[in-house]
Amino acid sequence: MGITDAVSGAVTGGQTGPATAGAYVAGKEIAGAAKHISWLLLVLGVFHYILRITSGASAITLVFSLTLCFLGVYALSAKLEKDRKGRMAILIPITVFFVWYFIFGANPNPQFLIVFLSILFGISMIFGLFSKGSSFEPEMYGFLPVLFFFLDVGLIPFLIENLNLPITSLMQNLVLFMPWWAFFGLLTLPSEASDSKSLNFLVTIFKVLGILYLVFVIVAPSLPNVGYDDSLLPSVGELEEAQANFRTQLPDLENPAWSNLKCMMAGRFTDLPVCIQERQENSQLEAACKQKGYSKGTLAFTDCTKEQKEEEAKLAYSAGGFYTPTVKDPMKAEIKINKEQLIPEYDPTWGYSAEISIVNPSKQTFKAVVLCDFTDKKNKKVISGEFDSSFEFEISEENYGETFICTPGEELDGSYTLNITLRLSGLTTESYLVRTFMGTEKKIEEMTNQQVQETKAEIIKEIKSANIATQSFSAKDFARINYYFGHTKDNVVIEDKKPLPVLVLTLENLGSGQITKLENYEIIFPPGNFDFSDPSCKADNIQNLDVKKKRFTFKQCRLENFPYSDLQLGDWRRETMTAVLKYDYQIFKKVQIIPNQEKISLIK
């Protein structure tokens, strides 16, 4: 009996007599309890999902998720058609799992696991003995809330990010638009969730769709085996970080279910997929324009979406990139304006303090300059600011932190915007691309074309099993070069065939600041004959590029000759290319100040 049917079985069982009447009442009570707790889980699950989407991963969402997990256990146990002891058994796996995961840090030591699992087995057997074996079924169900907990905190994005799985647009939607706990609440609702027959029918439909969805999510991406170093399971922090990263990398799309509904309401039944695609693309453009500060419905907003569309068309040819999976610390630069000092009685002549912190995990050496000024809000007059200490310095340490006090060069009178800028010059970011070169020369003369093709297919399969990323990747720096090199964008295998592969270089601003200057770039190829139609593809000065765009392609060229002509069919080699980008970057912070007016508001 499935969990969905457990309660309905108890309620509708055709039994007669006083004893069975009691069972009927008891069953109805259980169903009632399950119904209420499931509805609660559904509602809280939706709320939790909105919270996670809007505020991102935090301690609150984690605690909320844990609470929902235990609520889920309660809903599941209330739904099971078991006696009290039997239902209590559902708590065994979840308790044991969380003890192992949180208290013992998911210890993968085999000796520890033998002892630990033996204890689990012992506890399970004791329960089994007292319940005459009826506790085993709920024990199995006990793993469901654990699974949902991991799905909620970001198991799928974690797997995608760490296994470099190719992400299809369908998969993006599956990951983005899934309120896992609400779905769990829906699953645990009894078949007669309400008195309304139509609502019950709707609940059933959603259950079926949800299960199909779940099956698709779990089965669709066939995950290759990966050797883990420390523990078989990632920490919650890693999972949540993966989810947050994944969300930031994905475009802000309209929920496809909503797009579907809108298209159906618009009567576009004949070209439904086209309509959904259009809505999805438009929502992405609109989101980009909203992010730029345009209000929907204005003329500027319409112009922005047009421009954005043109940009997107260009971007179709651009190269994508991702963060190197094993990089933990990103490069960071932050300006914090000390609000505590901005008391109403604050005298501007004392200066405004700004805390500059820089995290430089690769210990690069670069120059930093801190600048400040005050812009009069009325007449836009700029009053330069002065620092108490040297505002130019060199960074080579991993962590830098200093407080600067900016004093206005003139007396302030009125409303101003305090601008603090941090300019970093001489930054370097490396990005990497892995490609394999496959031989095509036949070793055995007798091979037919079909046999050659099949041998190639087998080699490609072997290469794919080596988990080579299709896109280029870099550390979490401020900017990077994304590039692809191949016969097609996502093909990691390069062979000696016409047309020879192309190299496409795209520049991407990864941070929230601006690239102020591009110095030069160089693509370092492995030893071999890598000649391109445009020699400047390998290295060039790029000072004249427009650096305002977030992402743009600036170079495309084609390889002239296959570099490893001595490779035979069946042989291949793996090579990593490195793109080195040198640039300047700046971040800024603006604060609105009204000296002696008891007000300060943070603009950005």
Binding site: G227, D229, T324, T326, V327, K328, D329, M331, P361, S362, T429, E430, Y432, V434, T436, I444, E446, M447, T448, Q450, Q451, E454, T455, A457, E458, E462, I463, S465, A466, N467, F473, S474, A475, K476, D477, P526, G570, D571, W572, R573, R574, E575, T576, T578
Partner: protein, 292 residues
């Protein structure tokens, strides 16, 4: 009485021990040419180490263990897929081994060799990365042979119901001849022809090992003392007189058909023997894990 019992037990014990000693002789007559024994590839424990630190030297030791009943020739072991941006290979990535003895009376467990590759983990990691994982493959290719021999019953007299000779088995199955490529089935068909009686042997040649067989060549065949001249693979390669077949990824089997005129009139038992040569490839995946 007790003493007699103890003596009897001792005698029985000695008798049992005596029986045990005959197992050595048993081994002597062991038939190695059965099953699908092949070349086993294995990386020795800690070679390469599970964790390799930047700037450290390490060894990759590959064990090649020939569990086939035939010698392997012109062997080559290649390391493929190691990223030389991160790992400097001091030894050549290709290592040839001229031969590797198969299982036989002289060497009942087959010959085993260890191939070493010296490498250094360079002081390279992706910018800010904690570690680098490099899946790679050890690929071995070699040439070898296998023999198929069986005693079969031939009855040229198709209409003699009361022939008191041997019993014909129209279809037989085999569990290998001690090599990854083997004859797995034999179908014997005897039919009248214009010149007398003709026998047709249809043999399924299959790759049952974990690797990939390429070119299979029928080197020769005999039925008793008669040479089997009319043999051809169903998917034979051009200009090979039907004697060669090229296995490829999706098709690691082919049917070999041999025909012969029968001289005798009565049923008789005789030996059908065929010699094959083949070339073979096996691959083993492993991973290098470099840490900061």
């Amino acid at each position: 009485m007790k003493l007699i019992k103890i003596l009897m037990i001792m005698v029985l014990f000695m008798f049992l021990l005596g029986c045990g000693s005959s197992s050595g002789q048993q081994q002597g007559i062991q038939n190695f040419k059965q099953g699908y024994g092949s070349l086993n590839i294995r990386f020795l424990d800690n070679s390469p180490p599970e964790k390799i630190y930047q700037g450290s030297k390490f060894k990759m030791i590959v064990e090649l263990d020939n569990q086939a009943a035939y010698d392997l020739k012109d062997g080559q072991l290649k390391i493929v897929g190691v990223d030389e941006k991160f790992f400097l290979m001091s030894s050549p990535l290709t290592n040839d081994f001229p031969s590797l003895m198969g299982k036989s009376l002289i060497s009942p467990s087959g010959e085993k060799i260890f191939v070493e590759f010296d490498a250094t983990a360079l002081n390279e990691l992706f910018e800010n990365a904690e570690r680098f994982q490099n899946p790679f493959f050890a690929k071995v290719s070699f040439d070898s042979i296998f023999e198929f021999t069986d005693t079969i019953c031939i009855n040229p007299n198709l209409y003699e119901v009361y022939d008191s000779g041997c019993k014909v088995q129209p279809k037989k199955s085999y569990s290998g001849q001690g090599a990854p490529v083997a004859v797995t089935e034999l179908e014997s068909v005897i039919y009248p022809s214009s010149a007398g009686t003709e026998a047709e042997f249809r043999m399924m040649v299959k790759n049952r090992g974990s690797g990939k067989a390429n070119l299979i060549v029928l080197e020769g065949g005999k039925l008793g003392n008669q040479e089997l001249k009319d043999c051809h693979f169903q998917s034979s390669v051009k200009d090979s007189e039907g004697k060669k077949v090229l296995f490829y990824e999706k098709k690691q089997e082919d049917l070999l058909i041999c025909k012969i005129f029968l001289r005798d009139q009565l049923s008789y038992e005789t030996t059908l023997s065929l010699d094959f040569s083949y070339d073979y490839e096996i691959s083993k995946k492993h991973q290098l894990n470099m840490y900061k």
